[in-house]
């Protein structure tokens, strides 16, 4: 668990010991400074996780706890085909979206990196999709996809392809949502890659270019390895976020048609809040929490490495 980047600096060594009272106060000071935050963090993290674990071991009927359930909620979840279907949709969604975003973001960053004329404007406009609320993103794409208000159907029709009605078919709805995620989050990977490229030492690259290395080889032998730590940070952060994707899907399809776009987050939400079955909802979420924690630990390890390499 000991992973973060804590810079250890001894507090003012060698001060005269005669200032007794103040010295004692100074020694207690870090703990006094930490105390309020510790209380708050305990209340919003440790306690909810405990409460969630407790709920996952309880049977709920119409939103009221009626009995202890032991591990029943977990075994039910394990044998629930809809749960596994949702897991599969989540996995497909996360992998597909993050891979496309990484490739596009990297490619775009390579294009923009050097000549920086108009870079400010480019950066501003590319920033927009990831800055606005995911609900707004959902609204935007609802307006675009929808048969009555959007331009996707007329566009396809005018090309003689027939109106796709993206969100009303099982197959296309899923890819429509992946497309939205790519629109929203490619900018993040673009910005991360751009930052990595700009902080990269140029000399080895130029030396290799002078030696006659081909651009493609240059990229794979020099640029990519140097960029990897920074890229890893972006990818892992995105992975963690993508696992919890909820807002856009809630607004765009609500998990439908059928269960085609029902990610685990949507399924757990519906179980807990539409069917007021907090027990099963909590059990699914605890299972997902274990997965997310694993990702966080990986992320932290990578970030520590990246911060060390990038900053100086």
């Amino acid at each position: 668990m000991a992973t973060a980047t804590a810079p250890a600096r001894a507090s003012g060594p060698g001060r005269p010991p005669d200032r007794g009272r103040r010295n004692r106060l100074d020694r207690a000071l870090p703990y006094l400074l930490l105390l309020p935050a510790a209380v708050v963090l305990g209340l919003v993290s440790l306690y909810p996780i405990w409460a969630g674990a407790h709920a996952s071991l309880t049977t709920y009927l119409y939103g009221r706890p009626i009995a202890g359930a032991g591990l029943q909620n977990y075994t039910d979840t394990w044998h629930d085909p809809v749960f596994w279907q949702a897991m599969w949709v989540t996995l497909k969604f996360v992998v597909l979206a993050v891979v496309i975003e990484t490739v596009l973001g990297l490619a775009l960053a390579m294009l923009v990196a050097r000549d920086m004329r108009g870079a400010r404007f480019i950066r501003l406009s590319i920033l927009a999709p990831m800055t606005v609320a995911p609900v707004v993103v959902g609204v935007i794409w609802r307006l675009i996809y929808e048969s009555q208000t959007g331009f996707v159907n007329p566009l396809f029709s005018s090309l003689g392809l027939g109106a796709p009605n993206v969100l009303s078919h099982q197959g296309s709805a899923f890819y429509g949502l992946v497309f939205v995620d790519v629109w929203e989050w490619t900018p993040l990977l673009f910005l991360v890659c751009l930052a990595g490229l700009q902080s990269m030492p140029q000399e080895p690259l130029e030396a290799a270019a002078v030696d006659g290395a081909k651009p493609v080889r240059l990229f794979f032998n020099h640029t990519l390895p140097l960029l990897l730590p920074v890229l890893a940070v972006g990818v892992v952060l995105r992975l963690i976020d993508a696992v919890g994707t909820f807002d856009q899907i809630f607004v765009l399809t609500g998990g439908g048609p059928g269960t085609a776009t029902q990610l685990i987050s949507i399924y757990a939400y519906n179980t807990a809040f539409n069917f007021t079955d907090y027990g099963h909802g909590a059990a699914m979420l605890i299972a997902l929490l274990a997965f997310a924690l694993l990702l966080v630990i990986v992320a932290l390890t990578l970030m520590r490495g990246a911060a060390r390499r990038v900053s100086r």
Binding site: A4, A37, S45, A55, V139, L143, W183, A306
Partner: protein, 274 residues
């Protein structure tokens, strides 16, 4: 750089920029159309531009109270988390605590920030129900303060650690106490870090949907994203007001982001990439 590859590069950049911006322009266009024109087929420029959707947003759809709730909830929770989190970040950046406490505290802070909110929603709901704080601004403020505090600790720790400790040592030698050194010397130096942290906390809190959706049920406490989502009714979708709501919801945060774009990467990657 040959001429052809330069054109190719600019073409690719132009496509990317257009791809990012055009959906916003489409939403703006729909928000300025009358209901009949929305269904009259796709046109980018509204034939009869109107602000009717915006005014009905405020007269019929409670946008005013959503905005007020958002401002209050975001303002109070971000301020509280800065006041609570910054001293803790200072303690973690400046003192070596026993039992590896520095690392554990930072890890705990990061877990809260990184874990997808969907995981915490059921427990939050149960807790707020027990406290009788469902559908209240206070309930939202409590949750957001907690989540933001973890973010503030993590970010401010990295900003404060970059400030050389010599400058406050000098103040300490001059007879300042730790607290007054923190207030007089460190905070001014760290002010740009504080601003970056605050702004990212504001963006994340303002944009949150899931927590606000589950913890609130009436315009008394609902925030802007939840308010916008209520326009997508079960039976009928109010396209014009919905688009106008999207514009109203997006505008403050876009302006905010443009102000801090220099710090954007750092804020979005929790300080890992500068």
């Amino acid at each position: 750089m040959t001429g052809r590859s330069r054109y190719l590069r600019w073409a690719a950049i132009a496509v990317a920029v257009l791809f990012c911006v055009f959906p916003f322009i489409w939403m703006l266009s729909v928000s300025l159309k009358r209901q009949v024109d929305i269904f009259a087929g796709p046109t980018l420029v509204p034939q009869h531009p109107t602000l009717g959707n915006y005014s009905s947003l405020f007269t019929q759809y409670h946008m005013g109270s959503y905005l007020l709730n958002s401002v209050i909830v975001v303002g109070v929770s971000v301020l509280a988390s800065l006041v609570i989190g910054t001293p803790a970040a200072y303690a973690l950046a400046r003192f070596r605590l026993p039992w590896g406490l520095n690392d554990h505290a930072l890890f705990a802070a990061l877990v809260v920030r990184m874990v997808p909110p969907i995981l915490l929603v059921v427990p939050f709901y149960i807790i707020l129900a027990r406290l009788g704080l469902l559908d209240s601004r206070l309930g939202l403020i409590m949750i957001y303060t907690g989540i933001n505090t973890s973010f503030v600790i993590w970010m401010m720790q990295s900003f404060l650690a970059e400030i050389p400790s010599d400058i406050e040592d000098a103040a300490l030698v001059d007879g300042d106490s730790r607290m007054s050194a923190l207030r007089r010397i460190i905070l001014p130096v760290a002010s740009s870090g504080l601003a970056t942290t605050a702004i990212f906390a504001v963006i994340a809190t303002y944009n949150d949907f899931l927590i606000a959706l589950t913890m609130t049920s009436t315009p008394k406490a609902q925030t802007v994203p939840v308010g916008i989502s209520t326009l997508i009714g079960k039976i009928q979708v109010e396209w014009g007001p919905m688009a106008a709501g999207g514009i109203v919801g997006a505008l403050p945060i876009l302006i905010f982001a443009f102000i801090v774009q220099r710090h954007f990467v750092r804020g979005m990657t929790l300080g890992a990439v500068k």
